[in-house]
């Protein structure tokens, strides 16, 4: 049981923002991952998607999921992040007034991505773009319907 899929995200399109993460959430649910894994993966996808919409011309979210984990890679062609350490701080944001008016730009997107994933990697180049990779583990392998052997090994 696995899924590999790539999604394009259009920069600046706040009407469509969230659609990709909804679709990913549906896919992960369909392959039978437990609720908590699906929810955490969907949240990090959503924050990635909002960041691409807010700060990039365009981007891509690639999801690879199997019964053990969900790996999410978000790549964009955008403004990039000059100081990642600062950007990771809760409350720090460079969002425009227009973006903030809609309730985005709380300065918690990247920290949520880190908070809800089990493994988090970010790299960025100013004027080129940003790459984020996150892994969400299935912490409840025994619940997987197709893999009864996990029941025995999970103690």
């Amino acid at each position: 049981m696995h899924c590999d899929k790539s999604f394009s995200v259009e920069g600046g399109n706040f009407q469509a923002a969230g659609n990709v993460s909804s679709e990913i959430k549906g896919l992960l649910k369909k392959i039978g991952l437990p609720k908590d894994t699906v929810r955490r993966a969907a949240i990090v996808c959503y924050e990635s998607e909002i960041n691409i919409v807010s700060y990039a011309k365009k981007g891509q979210i690639i999801v690879h999921a199997d019964d053990r984990s969900v790996q999410i890679e978000a790549t964009d062609e955008g403004s990039g992040i000059p100081d990642i350490e600062q950007a990771m701080k809760e409350g720090y944001s460079t969002a425009t007034a227009q973006v903030r008016e809609m309730g985005f730009g709380a300065g918690m997107g990247l920290s949520n991505m880190k908070r809800y994933s089990d493994d988090f990697f970010i790299s960025s180049e100013v004027g080129v773009g940003t790459y984020v990779k996150m892994v969400v583990f299935n912490l409840d392998l025994k619940l997987m319907p197709d893999h009864p052997q996990w029941v025995d090994t999970y103690t």
Binding site: F14, G18, A42, E47, G103
Partner: protein, 111 residues
Amino acid sequence: MDLAAIVKALNLKVSCGGSALNREVKGGYVGDLLSDVIANSQEGHVWITRQIHQNIVAVASLKDLAAIILVQGSEPAPDTLEKATREGIPILITADPGFEVAGKIYRMISP
């Protein structure tokens, strides 16, 4: 405490999601910053906000919130309503300010 009891006690207008009012409300969160709500709300919470655009539905759905309560008479944008209806997320409306709504609900559900 189920959602229906809160709707009745606070005389909230059910804008959509009327079939999901039997859900248990475990608490609530107040905020207009979406990522703050993502970080700090929990499953089964009601979310009290003034934001009306469709991304509130995405946030409520991501966090499995029980309902969105729009205060100060805010009405959901048409595409918000459409999306919430599709996803079965109740949007409840009141003319009261957020402070009062939060206070009343807190009093109802706290032991």
